[in-house]
């Protein structure tokens, strides 16, 4: 269970204080597929950063399983991010001088998974997301956008995380490829029993998720079950 309580995030912009997350509270049960929608600047990406322990909230708590990640120290957060969270970004963010397989193996290396196991799981994940064997040795620059996003999804799943956070995963893809990527995420969440929270502009995609959170000016304005 992911439980967010009274989450506030403010930051300074010149002389003004911007409230990026304003007293947000919600929960997502394990294995659910949830989406966050809202206009640009509504605080979607900030919320995702906070959920992924990439940034610290000004106040409030985020409890994943039985641990409040806002109380964790820096080194604990590194471990938490590596083992419990998987990230999928809009612009893929693969390491450019590593091959597709090496990119997938990277989080496992940080989690100190033995090399043989890393290779085995890395190949298996890449096959699962639909990458051909001959594409596994290619660097990101030689893969299409859709293929890079598949590699990013495989990388996010590498350490069998409790939670996958996806920020506009289909934003840079054409409609057909975007739908394929979304379906892939959906099916993998079912198969791996992973909680997925996806930030999207696409209401059609949001409509297919188990839960949708609407944000406006940093506030959670509705919490709908699809």
């Amino acid at each position: 269970m992911l439980e967010v309580k009274n989450l506030v995030k403010t930051f300074r912009s010149g002389d003004t204080t911007v409230i990026a997350a304003n007293d947000i509270s919600f929960s997502v049960p394990d294995g659910q597929f949830a989406s966050v929608v809202g206009r640009s600047g509504s605080g979607k990406s900030t919320l995702l950063s906070l959920l992924g322990a990439l940034d610290l909230p000004t106040s409030g708590s985020i409890v994943v399983g039985d641990r409040d990640i806002t109380k964790m120290r820096d080194h604990e957060l590194i471990g938490y991010r590596g083992r419990s969270i998987g990230f999928v970004f809009q612009s893929y963010n693969l390491v450019p001088n590593l091959t597709a397989l090496e990119n997938v193996m990277l989080p496992m290396e940080f989690a100190k998974t033995p090399k043989a196991e890393r290779i085995k799981r890395g190949k298996s994940l890449l096959q699962e997301v639909g990458l051909q064997d001959d594409q596994m040795g290619r660097k990101p620059g030689r893969l299409s956008g859709g293929q890079q996003q598949r590699v990013a999804i495989a990388r996010a799943l590498a350490n069998r995380p409790q939670l996958i956070l996806a920020d506009e995963p289909t934003g840079n893809l054409d409609a057909t490829t975007g739908k394929m990527i979304f379906d892939l995420l959906h099916s993998l969440s079912r198969k791996e029993k992973t909680t997925i929270i996806v930030v999207t502009h696409d209401l059609e995609i949001a409509g297919k998720t188990d839960k949708t959170f609407h944000l406006d000016d940093g506030r959670l304005v509705s919490n709908n079950r699809s």
């Binding site: 990406s45 990439l54 940080f110 506009e168």
Partner: protein
């Protein structure tokens, strides 16, 4: 792939940039190494010169100038007081004079060794010939610069030097001379026995037992010595007492060398000699002479040390700027790696390896530059330094007589010529600095490269630590 492998791989992400960095870094490390080579070579030379100093004190008349009419010579009575000082084991006294060859015409400028009495001459002809337009003996160039508008007469030959000494063995040692024929003369006996060089013997067709004329007296060739020293080839050695008598300079001494019982007592003994002789004499210990001799090398050492530090700092700054640029360029990537579980330490390690890889590649290029450039650059620095400083330095003739290298016009030709010989000899000794690149120096070179890499990546490590993983989201 481990952080080391990834760091090395990162160093080659952009081949053109890596190549440019390696070349620039190579030049910097090469310059560092070249300066290190020069510094070590000069240090070794200084050490060698200082370790070879003897426990002696050179005494010469205060303000003595060649060709001067002033009678400012020392006397044997002065030196007898020195002989009695504590720690002084012996005093080798010498009297120097110069005689023109009988029948030789003197040029219209300068003073040309007319002898202490102004009229003596010798039947000997100097074995050294002179080219008035330069390009003289042994490849050396000697110029006539004693006056303006002068010229050499057709029958001119160089004056012959006469040295009287009470320790002829010391003198032959100073000249690196060996008695080839005949025997060593006595320094204490007042006899007309003389030692001449083999070149002088050939030039004048003399052999052991033959006689020649000087100061209107007949001198006998008691021994013939071999030497490469050109000043010595032009010199006749007789006993001190004999030259004082022949030149009518009873008790006069133009220089002396006092030997002290140990190096530990050299300083105190030098002070005692200075105090005893007062302003009558210039007293210089071997230690002071060595210090004066290596002064030009010390300036090379200083220049090379500053250049070394400058080059190392330049290398570190190059790496630092490159790594700062790389960190800024890869800020998003660092954020991603942190987001998926990479620790600061691990990412810093990768950048450190990348920096080290560039530095080691630069070191390889730098070592090549150092190996090729070490000796020529050292030689150039030493040559420049010695040629800049020796023009105003005094050099000592083996007999103990000191001449200013830039002798004043009154100094006369003989003095200038002799000083030139000694100068060249002293300078050549200093210039003979061997720059060698051994394993120790190579290790030092690599050590410098590692130091450069560590210094250069320190700031980038700080920047890496500051990159927050949320950077990756903001970049979205």
């Amino acid at each position: 792939m481990n952080p080391v492998g990834r760091g090395i791989r990162n160093a080659f992400r952009n081949g053109v940039r890596t190549g440019a960095i390696v070349i620039i870094l190579g030049l910097s490390i090469g310059l560092s190494l070249t300066m290190l080579v020069a510094q070590r070579a000069v240090e070794n030379k200084i050490k060698s010169v200082k370790s070879s100093i003897g426990n002696t004190i050179t005494i010469s008349p205060a303000g003595f100038t060649p060709g001067s009419d002033a009678n400012n010579a020392l006397t044997s009575d002065d030196l007898a007081k020195v002989q009695k000082l504590a720690h002084v084991t012996s005093v080798a006294e010498t009297l120097t004079d110069r005689l023109p060859t009988t029948g030789s015409s003197a040029p219209t400028f300068g003073k040309f060794g007319t002898g202490s009495d102004g009229g003596s001459s010798t039947s000997l002809t100097s074995p050294i010939t002179l080219n008035a337009h330069g390009g003289g003996m042994g490849g050396e160039r000697f110029f006539i610069s004693g006056g303006e508008g002068g010229s050499l007469p057709a029958d001119f030959s160089l004056p012959v030097s006469f040295i009287g000494t009470n320790h002829p063995a010391n003198l032959t040692t100073d000249y690196s001379a060996t008695i080839a024929r005949g025997a060593q003369i006595s320094g204490t006996a007042d006899s007309n026995n003389a030692l001449i060089s083999s070149q002088m013997a050939v030039k004048n067709n003399l052999k052991v037992g033959d006689t020649f004329t000087a100061y209107s007296a007949a001198l006998t060739v008691a021994g013939i010595f071999n030497t490469d020293n050109q000043a010595a080839q032009d010199t006749v050695i007789v006993s001190l007492a004999a030259l004082q008598r022949l030149s009518a300079q009873g008790g006069v001494v133009t220089s002396a060398v006092a030997t002290i019982d140990s190096l530990d007592n050299l300083g105190n003994a030098t002070s005692a000699v200075k105090s005893t002789l007062g302003s009558n004499a210039d007293v210089v210990s071997a230690q002071e002479e060595a210090d004066n001799t290596v002064a030009p090398l010390n300036s090379v050492k200083t220049v090379s040390t500053f250049s070394l530090v400058g080059a190392v700092v330049a290398g570190a700054v190059i790496i630092l700027l490159v790594m700062v640029m790389v960190v800024r360029e890869r800020k998003k990537e660092i954020g991603v790696v942190k987001a998926i579980g990479g620790s600061n330490l691990r990412i810093m390690g990768e950048f450190m390896v990348e920096s080290l890889t560039l530095a080691v590649l630069g070191a390889v290029v730098g070592l090549l530059i150092g190996v090729v450039g070490g000796q020529p650059v050292t030689k150039m620095l030493v040559d420049n330094s010695t040629s800049n400083t020796t023009t105003s330095t005094q050099f000592q003739r083996p007999g103990g007589r000191t001449f200013a290298a830039n002798a004043e016009p009154n100094g006369g030709f003989g003095g200038r010529f002799d000083a030139g010989l000694r100068r060249n000899s002293a300078v050549e000794g200093l210039r003979n600095v061997k720059a060698q690149i051994g394993p120790g120096l190579l290790l030092d070179g690599f050590g410098a490269a590692v130091l450069i890499a560590i210094l250069g990546s320190a700031l980038s490590a700080g920047l890496i630590a500051k990159v927050r993983p949320s950077t990756v989201m903001r970049a979205e």
